[in-house]
């Protein structure tokens, strides 16, 4: 049974249809790539999945413990609560806060104390804060960022900021992780590291991942299936080798008569 089912998803901004009749289905545990030329509507597609935009029509269903939940049109925080987390194309860390705080904020929805407990520091507050700190540190440990936990996020090197954004998304305990161009602006060395991290996340956390990427080497190397978006329409989907040789994909990227 598929984890994510997108059917006939359409989004128009006035006269411009950014995404039209897009379909997608992702099985649990898959690592899927979404590619397409600039302006094809990839990020709009992401924004529709995560609730930043409400779709004009179509449906997005997420399977949560065997129950299909319609998530289109829900607010972003609600979508995250249901189990979908994301990173951003342009890094959007809480850049003046520490690495630890970045993670703890993402854990907010799993915190089990209310406002009075916070104001008057009940025992529950202390217990929960302790648990939070421990869990955040464990997570940072896995991604080798523990020694930087008190560092201000904006002072981290670029590659680590990208990593931290992924760790932060992981802290919300998602079932489906969306990565928006995780390798953008990275040097080849950092890209290799990132590739390892993504593979590690999938294996160790038993996660399903959908990523948008321009770096073809990364997509072809780790993605099991690829969707191709062009002018808002899904023009192809399949295994990396199939996509490589697909005539319409080549046309979309390089123009006709090639």
């Amino acid at each position: 049974m598929s984890l994510l089912t997108v059917e006939k998803l359409t989004k128009s901004f006035g006269g411009l249809t950014a995404v039209s009749n897009a379909n997608m289905h992702i099985e649990k545990g898959e690592l899927i790539g979404l590619i397409g030329p600039n302006g094809a509507g990839k990020t709009t597609f992401f924004n529709l999945l995560t609730g930043v935009y409400a779709p004009t029509s179509g449906s997005i269903k997420l399977d949560v413990n065997g129950e299909k939940k319609e998530i289109s049109g829900l607010k972003p925080y609600h979508v995250t609560k249901i189990g979908l987390a994301r990173t951003f194309q342009n890094i959007r860390l809480f850049k003046d806060l520490t690495v630890l705080d970045n993670i703890r904020i993402a854990m907010h929805q799993n915190v089990d104390y209310k406002l009075p407990s916070a104001l008057f520091r009940s025992n529950k507050y202390y217990e929960e804060e302790e648990r939070l700190k421990k869990e955040a540190e464990e997570l940072l440990d896995i991604f080798k960022l523990t020694h930087k936990k008190h560092e201000i996020a904006k002072n981290l090197p670029y590659g680590e900021q990208r990593h931290l954004e992924i760790v932060r998304a992981m802290a919300t305990k998602p079932v489906l992780l969306l990565l928006d161009e995780p390798a953008a602006g990275m040097n080849p060395n950092e890209t290799v590291q990132l590739t390892e991290t993504i593979a590690k996340i999938r294996d160790e956390f038993d996660l399903t991942i959908l990523l948008i990427e321009h770096d073809m080497s990364l997509v072809m190397k780790i993605c099991e299936r690829i969707y191709v978006l062009d002018y808002g329409t899904m023009i192809a989907s399949g295994k990396p080798e199939e996509i490589k040789n697909n005539k319409r994909v080549i046309e979309a990227y390089l123009g006709e008569d090639v």
């Binding site: 995560t50 930043v52 607010k75 972003p76 925080y77 995250t80 609560k81 987390a85 994301r86 951003f88 959007r92 860390l93 809480f94 850049k95 003046d96 806060l97 705080d101 703890r104 904020i105 993402a106 854990m107 907010h108 929805q109 915190v111 104390y113 406002l115 407990s117 916070a118 104001l119 008057f120 520091r121 025992n123 507050y125 202390y126 217990e127 929960e128 804060e129 939070l132 020694h147 936990k149 008190h150 932060r168 998304a169 802290a171 919300t172």
Partner: protein
């Protein structure tokens, strides 16, 4: 009880010591009744500035209507206190004023907090004006003439108790998960929402808490100065509070406290210079903003200076 840890007990001792010290100075007349007014102003301004800092400094929602919430507390407190001339009446007045202010905060916050930046500033400004005009036209508040002869129950003890209470509760809030949610909204609202934070809810929460404490400050104010009228809580008052917050540092409670003390002391010292006073005051603000645009303390807190453990870890 995990509240009773070493650090909190030490803080409690310091709090009581400061109270006793000032009380002794007042009783022995070292602090004259003239300077007592300065102390009252400082305490009330601290409550106002710290509560506005929660909204503007920590949550990042620019509000120009804080005096509106203060006036609600002032009127509610005065009205209760005038019909119940006792300490109980005084305390009921404070709590009622704070609760009414918080409720108004929620009612106003839900529609206006969708706005951002300057739009929100204008909306909150308008809201404070509406509150002022309502008080100006109501029978029970005696219109433009205001309320006279409010019994004075506010003294050093109550000023201090409520100032400390405000500081502790807001500091606790800021260091909780709810508080971190508010700070994340200031840092990046879109990212915060994507991390599962219901941004509207936390903006309204911060706004209501800020209004609650502003209500307390208002009730203390009316009970100290015997007399209130709507013009006291106009645009100018909101700006005065905002100046303290910006001066001390947006996002620093310690900064707000220091700024409230400093500005009150400067005003008192310059009293003899009469008209020149406002010019010096303004120049001082300009100079500070030129050399420290982030305010006196930026986002730092006094407690940051005592975190040796943290520094040690960093060296590791």
């Amino acid at each position: 009880m995990k509240v009773l840890n070493k650090r909190n007990i030490l803080t409690l001792i310091i709090i009581v010591a400061i109270y006793a010290l000032v009380q002794v100075l007042i009783t022995t007349k070292v602090i004259s009744s003239f300077y007592e007014i300065t102390i009252a102003t400082i305490c009330i301004n601290i409550i106002l500035a710290v509560s506005l800092n929660l909204v503007t400094g920590f949550t990042g929602q620019f509000s120009l209507g804080h005096a509106g919430f203060m006036s609600i507390g002032a009127y509610a407190g005065a009205l209760v206190n005038m019909s119940m001339k006792s300490t109980t009446g005084f305390l009921i007045g404070i709590i009622l004023g704070a609760i009414v202010a918080a409720i108004v905060g929620i009612i106003i916050g839900i529609p206006t907090l969708r706005l951002k930046g300057d739009y929100l500033a204008i909306a909150t400004l308008g809201m404070a004006e509406i509150i002022r005009v309502v008080f100006l036209n109501m029978e029970i508040t005696n219109g433009a003439a205001g309320l006279n002869g409010i019994p004075r129950f506010t003294n050093w003890l109550w000023l201090y108790v409520f100032t400390v209470l405000t500081l502790i509760l807001i500091s606790n809030f800021v260091k909780s998960s709810q508080g971190r949610a508010c700070i994340s909204i200031r840092e990046d609202e879109i990212a915060a929402e994507s991390m599962g934070i219901n941004t509207t809810r936390y903006k309204v929460m911060a706004f209501a808490l800020g209004a609650f404490f502003a209500g307390i400050a208002g009730a203390l104010y009316s009970s100290y100065f015997y007399f209130i009228n709507p013009t006291m809580f106009g645009f100018q008052k909101s700006i005065d509070i905002l100046v303290i917050v910006v001066f001390g540092g947006l996002g620093s409670m310690t900064g707000s406290v220091i700024a409230a003390v400093l500005l009150a002391v400067i005003t008192t010292l310059l009293q003899s210079l009469s008209s020149l006073r406002m010019i010096i005051y303004a120049l001082l603000l300009i100079v500070i903003m030129l050399f420290r645009p982030q305010g006196l303390l930026g986002t730092k807190e006094i407690t940051d200076m005592f975190k040796f453990g943290k520094k040690y870890e960093r060296v590791e």
